[in-house]
Symmetry: C2
Subunit: 462 residues, 2 copies
């Protein structure tokens, strides 16, 4: 078959869950026991090149099956379509999915259905980048500004950003592009780490991990706060004393507070010089963030990992509600919507410091920040990508961190491919890990039990 | 078994779909071909009274299966629980569902998962009202203010509404309660009708239905707009000429516009004296609604049917973005969240004119407005409930409209019970209607075909 006749012939889905709650990795004030999970999909084609597009939504356990069902509801929009056509214009898929009038009712453009759209759209971009034999960041950085603008949905954006303004920003982004690409390949992109700061860790573990983070070259760490003020004061004191005055220390409340609580709590932690307060309140509360920002300055306000779409980001910027925009690669409608969000941030001059962690979020989002640096914002000043050292071993091209920086990926695609053995072992409830787990741990829900049985590299018990 | 030991023993779910797209009932600028559907659930108990709690999410077709999957993901939160305990405090269920930290990741408090929570919470309220042998509006109107305040989740609200303020509003709502309840039972609650104004209708059908609406006692009608300006001008002229200058004529763009489009389009229709412009832009765009409202006054701005939760309503009120708050009984997290929204509207003095139509939304939402009148806002001035004459025959206690008013229901419960025969016939894809449909209409999707075959009262072909 000639490649130009190739079609998407199947969308395979997987409900993949990892038992992270047992170690309190990822524990914070709102999410005490996450089981990091992925509603994962593979777009298969009948092209002789045998390339496939991979994408996923990150969840934290229960409900991952609902997310898989939502992805499956989108199957008819992609299966049967021309691979060449989709890869030449991923916006086709994005528009088709966002524009499905019946499915739109279930959002619109938010929650389970919108994240499902993002997973499918990202899988198309992964396939497109693999076919161009480029990592996604380079595909985007090499693209014509006109084509990039055509990939953005400007509906509900034009009062803040017009297509003409977007085009200007992208044209300006071409100036000095080669130098920045060289610098990126040489030095990587700055990272910060959340690994020391999970709420479930002891002070000793916090101190040890914070010390290790600084030694490893990170210039910023992050602590979870918001469950208990006395604990937070003690933990911030421990961390600040370990990292010294010059390492930035962000704090993250994971939406725990009302507006007044946020102002008071951040005030009580001010003596430890927090760099930003992340998710002080509901991600939906634009005006609340603006009020908090007014009150807690010079502590910066950051949010984004739960911001549902470009329309809310637009307003956070219009209202002067945030100092730091934390886009997430798998929360909104995929690369197309994230291009719009990066353009909004560039227009308003607000730095983008993406949310990552979870399963595979570091792998995805590095591409967006690297494109932003090379071809849009033209700087890494005050910009860092979150890094958490979880679950990277399950990916075929995991992120590489060196001297506190993400090393620019060179493998073609969006770095979304999970190892086939991991997909198989951790598929819930019938993968080998979960079958073995139920056999070993009695009770209604294995995930609730504690478990010290040795495991092999896939986590399957020996 | 003694009633106080009764438990919820099962949650049955149904994917119910009606083929409304064939008649263009419900067609608007964003939803050209809805198949009105319900993701429906029944909570069964082992109580000797054999009462069951019914609830549902309204959708418009594709994706109703995803919505059912989301409802099923909540099963473990209700099945096995004490009926007495839940009915004495439905907030228990609401808090348990909204607070599930793993499921929360899929929103938070928005989209598919939040609507599923609303369906389950509403089913508990239905059961509670049936057990008290009261229609829900009366259960709420009779309740102690302190208890009602305990049913509201004030998280993310206190910068606009505190529990103490809510208590004051509800206590004030008790003054003159008996007189208003008498008036409600005598006269009903004012309605307006959208039936004439669907985009898919001819001018002749529009004129005929508008004339009939006025003759039937409605003091307000609504027209869908936003697909084509020339068509809208013509249709508004037809409607205004038929209803005369004194009947209020609302227009509804169903989110079709960007901010600038909305201002220009409403300006072009101003000569027909529209009463409100509904959903001029994205329901997420608080600041956009505020800008539109500034520009189109004295035309009022209304929104709410797609507003995801109390936090967005709070901001719409804080920003002065709306003149009319259109709550929906089945979009947010159920009665508990709608109590919070009614209290916010009362605090800000903005009239609530609920969204209805669809499947069963009229049946549900009348209870909330009637409670609002009797025990909170104390007035029906400038307040109307939407009415559409669709699909009421499928409910065991359908709404009754008399002289342009909703007659106050007296049947115990939340009026959510669908006829068992309808549930069975329209369950997708294996109910009798859909099986017969596939047998009669060749092609990939029966719902896309036209169909003039006579049907019996359930819509099953003769």
């Amino acid at each position: 078959m000639s490649p130009d006749l190739a079609r998407i012939i199947a969308m395979d889905t997987f409900d993949v869950r990892f038992p992270t709650s047992r170690e309190l990795d990822g524990s914070d004030a709102m999410n005490p026991d996450p089981d990091y999970s992925a509603a994962y999909l593979v777009l298969r084609t009948d092209s002789p090149d045998e390339l496939a597009g991979h994408g996923f939504t990150f969840t934290i356990g229960r409900g991952n099956d609902v997310q898989v069902a939502a992805i499956e509801a989108l199957r008819s929009h992609v299966v049967g379509r021309s691979v060449d056509e989709l890869c030449a214009d991923p916006g086709l898929v994005s528009r088709s999915l966002v524009g499905d009038s019946q499915l739109r009712w279930l959002g619109p453009e938010k929650g389970v259905m919108h994240m499902a759209i993002g997973a499918v759209v990202n899988a198309v971009w992964d396939l497109a980048a693999k076919r161009q034999r480029k990592p996604l960041w380079k595909l985007l950085a090499d693209a014509d500004p006109e084509w990039l603008v055509s990939q953005v949905d400007f509906r509900y954006l034009t009062d803040a950003l017009t297509p003409a303004e977007a085009l200007d920003l992208l044209r300006r982004g071409k100036e000095g592009r080669e130098e920045r690409e060289d610098a990126l390949l040489r030095k990587g992109y700055p990272a910060y780490t959340t690994s020391p700061g999970w709420l479930g860790y002891s002070d000793e573990k916090l101190a040890r991990l914070a010390r290790e983070a600084v030694a490893a070259g990170f210039a910023q760490i992050k602590l979870k706060v918001g469950a208990d003020l006395d604990d937070d004061i003690r933990r911030c004191r421990v961390a600040r004393s370990v990292v010294g005055p010059h390492v930035r220390m962000a704090i993250d409340a994971n939406q725990r507070w009302n507006v007044d609580d946020a102002v008071a709590w951040v005030g009580a932690l001010a003596e430890f010089d927090p760099y930003w307060i992340e998710e002080p309140t509901s991600p939906d509360d634009i005006l609340g963030h603006a009020a908090i920002r007014d009150a807690v300055a010079p502590v910066k306000v950051a949010t984004g990992e739960h911001v549902q779409n470009r329309i809310v980001f637009k307003q956070l910027l219009q209202a002067g509600a945030i100092d730091v925009l934390q886009l997430d690669a798998a929360r909104v409608g995929g690369v197309n919507e994230n291009l719009g969000i990066l353009l909004l941030a560039a227009k308003f001059g607000v730095p983008v410091c993406p949310h990552a962690g979870g399963v595979g979020l570091c792998e995805l989002v590095q591409h967006l920040s690297m494109f932003d640096y090379v071809a849009l914002s033209r700087t890494t000043q005050d910009r860092v990508i979150e890094y958490v050292d979880h679950l990277h071993e399950h990916f075929t091209a995991p992120v590489v961190i060196r001297d506190g920086h993400y090393v620019a990926p060179t493998v073609p695609g969006f770095s979304a491919d999970m190892e086939r053995a991991s997909l198989t072992a951790y598929t819930y409830p019938d993968g080998a890990f979960w079958v073995a787990d139920r056999a070993a741990v009695p009770g209604p829900s294995a995930a609730e039990g504690s478990d010290d049985t040795p495991r092999d590299s896939l986590g399957v018990r020996a």
